[in-house]
């Protein structure tokens, strides 16, 4: 049942040009960064060969690509999650799901799964671009995997928060703007703290994502993203249930 809902969601996602535009835009920006970084690497290659412990091609060309990808996700996930629930409310199609023998949990998980599949697709495209380096050089596969995992978890957290915000309103645009605001807030919340030991750093998405970009998969980061995702999925389910009870 979850897969039926996810399938329907993906179908309508790709029936509108939005998903394609997001994917194309992402590929275009990433390719630009990637080429520029590789160009830079080739220019300094001779010097790098002489210095001990110099950064490799992966650090110079691929890691910045993930940095940009995370920003593109921050901007594009709200556009994809905005319509998940709010548009069904707006078009009054929610009744089809509500009166079908499907639980709220299944509805929410189905919708979320569709977003996860989309994020996996993005990750696949990025890793293909990174792997193209193999045509003429070596790659630090550990670093690449850490970056992919980080980007995926980041996207999953965005999707869960976006899904919840979509449950709150009947206007997709309001959901998108609100999601973007929340993402940005969580991204840079640590700026507010002057003390480097402040607990605000624990909340910052950027701080946790940086760990993955440096090539380390830390348990605390995994827990952070996991908690964020699970919390907002549960909140979404509860929010939809309360619709039935109190609306």
């Amino acid at each position: 049942m979850i897969f039926t809902i996810a399938g329907k969601e993906l179908r309508s996602m790709f029936a509108s040009p939005l998903a394609w535009v997001v994917l194309a835009f992402l590929q275009f920006v990433l390719a630009l960064i990637f080429l520029k970084q590789i160009d830079g690497f080739l220019m300094v290659q001779a010097q790098l060969a002489r210095t001990p412990n110099a950064p490799g091609l992966t650090e110079i060309a691929i890691v910045p690509m993930f940095g940009v990808a995370s920003m593109v996700l921050l901007m594009s996930v709200p556009l994809l999650t905005m319509r998940l629930i709010s548009e069904e409310r707006r078009n009054q199609t929610m009744a089809l799901l509500m009166s079908a023998p499907v639980s709220m949990t299944q509805i929410v998980l189905g919708k979320y799964l569709a977003m996860v599949v989309f994020l996996l697709l993005i990750n696949l495209l990025i890793s293909l671009m990174a792997l193209s380096v193999l045509a003429g050089g070596a790659i630090d596969s550990g670093l690449l995997v850490a970056n992919l995992v980080g980007l995926f978890l980041l996207g999953c957290s965005f999707a869960a928060i976006g899904l919840f915000i979509s449950c709150l309103t009947t206007h997709p645009v309001v959901a998108a703007v609100l999601s973007l605001a929340v993402f940005l807030g969580l991204w840079i919340i640590n700026i507010a703290a002057s003390d480097p030991e402040s607990w605000l750093h624990l909340l910052s998405l950027l701080k946790h994502f940086e760990g993955f970009m440096n090539g380390s998969i830390a348990v605390t980061d995994l827990i952070y993203f996991g908690l964020l995702t699970v919390t907002f999925i549960i909140l979404s389910i509860r929010r939809l249930d309360s619709d039935r009870l109190h609306a």
């Binding site: 039926t4 078009n91 199609t93 009166s99 079908a100 023998p101 499907v102 039935r244």
Partner: protein, 333 residues
């Protein structure tokens, strides 16, 4: 036709109530439906028809009361109960960017139709709702009437025991209304159907039984024949070329009552069991009143309907509160 079907109870709702804040939208509504029966849920705007239907279909949790579908409690086992209900809400829940076939397959799978039977279920639902040639069309490009049919097809795709249709003929042209009505009558042969409407002749045309809701309460629940009796005998409309004064006609048809509608047109109402027709015709001829039209009065459901709502207003101890409620219904509708 419906009498030949087994009289097993398919849906029983008892004591349903629903509160919105302090406003009691539905108050202690009970409803029972047997297989092969079409029940009309009637009421003015804001009477609580849609809220009742939402509660029966599990779209809304009741504040009090229970719903039982074929012996399964909707609140305890929602998914099992929902599998036996087909629901067409007031606004059909259509995904405009899907094709009819895609949409119906989706609806079928959501309603747990087996994969091997899905194709057949879709074909059957399309056939019954007159959509056989429309499978490839985008729902968004269909006319309102066809969209309504897709909504009905969606509600019957899993062959439910109970079909619930919320104002299925609103916004359709007369031909489409006739088609949808005959479809509903056909559905009533195998399924139980609840139909909400505020179009009165519609109920008379297709329903076996009627429940009239007013301000969240059931004010009338009986078979259509009971509705005719409730009206209190016959009603005739008489048109005269040379009408006498009102009192003359009234005394001529006594004990039936006569009421002047407009110049030369009267309505004659009699108690059940009495037929004033003969007496009326004879008197008209004797006095040379120029009788040129004599017809049974239309809109009998309307009379009951108006009668019930008026009666409610006339209750003196409730007069004040009803006046307040009247204003609120006017502003909300």
């Amino acid at each position: 036709m419906s009498n030949t079907a087994s009289h097993e109870v398919t849906l029983a709702a008892t004591g349903l109530s629903r509160r919105y804040g302090t406003n009691l939208a539905v108050d202690d509504v009970s409803l029972e439906l047997r297989r092969g029966e079409i029940v009309g849920l009637l009421g003015p705007n804001g009477a609580g028809k849609t809220t009742t239907m939402k509660m029966i279909t599990g779209n809304l949790a009741p504040s009090a009361g229970s719903v039982n579908v074929c012996g399964i409690d909707l609140i305890e086992r929602p998914t099992a109960a929902k599998a036996r209900i087909g629901y067409l809400p007031e606004v059909p829940p259509l995904y405009k960017d899907l094709r009819v076939d895609e949409y119906l397959r989706l609806a079928g799978r959501l309603h747990k139709v087996k994969k091997t039977e899905l194709g057949r279920a879709v074909d059957r639902a399309k056939l019954r709702s007159g959509l056989s040639d429309m499978g490839r069309r985008l729902i968004g490009s269909l006319s309102k009437g066809y969209q309504q049919r897709v909504g009905i097809a969606q509600a019957i795709i899993h062959d439910p025991d109970v079909v619930i249709l919320d104002e299925p003929t609103v916004g359709l042209d007369p031909n489409q209304i006739r088609e949808i009505r005959s479809l509903i009558r056909e559905l009533g042969n195998e399924h139980s159907v609840i139909l909400s409407t505020h179009i009165l002749p519609e109920v008379e045309a297709i329903c076996d039984r009627v429940q009239i809701l007013h301000r969240g309460k059931v004010v009338f629940a009986d078979a259509i024949s009971g509705l005719h009796q409730f009206r209190g005998g016959h009603s005739l409309q008489v048109s005269l070329r040379r009408p006498p004064p009102h009192e003359d006609l009234a005394s001529a048809v006594a004990p039936a009552r006569a009421e002047k509608l407009r110049d030369g047109v009267f309505r004659v109402m009699s108690q059940p069991g009495q037929d004033p027709t003969d007496q009326l015709v004879r008197t008209c001829v004797e006095h040379d009143w120029g009788l040129f039209q004599l017809s049974p009065a239309q809109a009998s459901v309307e009379e009951v309907f108006v009668h019930l709502t008026r009666q409610d207003n006339a209750e003196p101890n409730e007069a004040e509160s009803t006046a307040g409620a009247d204003q609120s219904t006017e502003t909300t509708t």
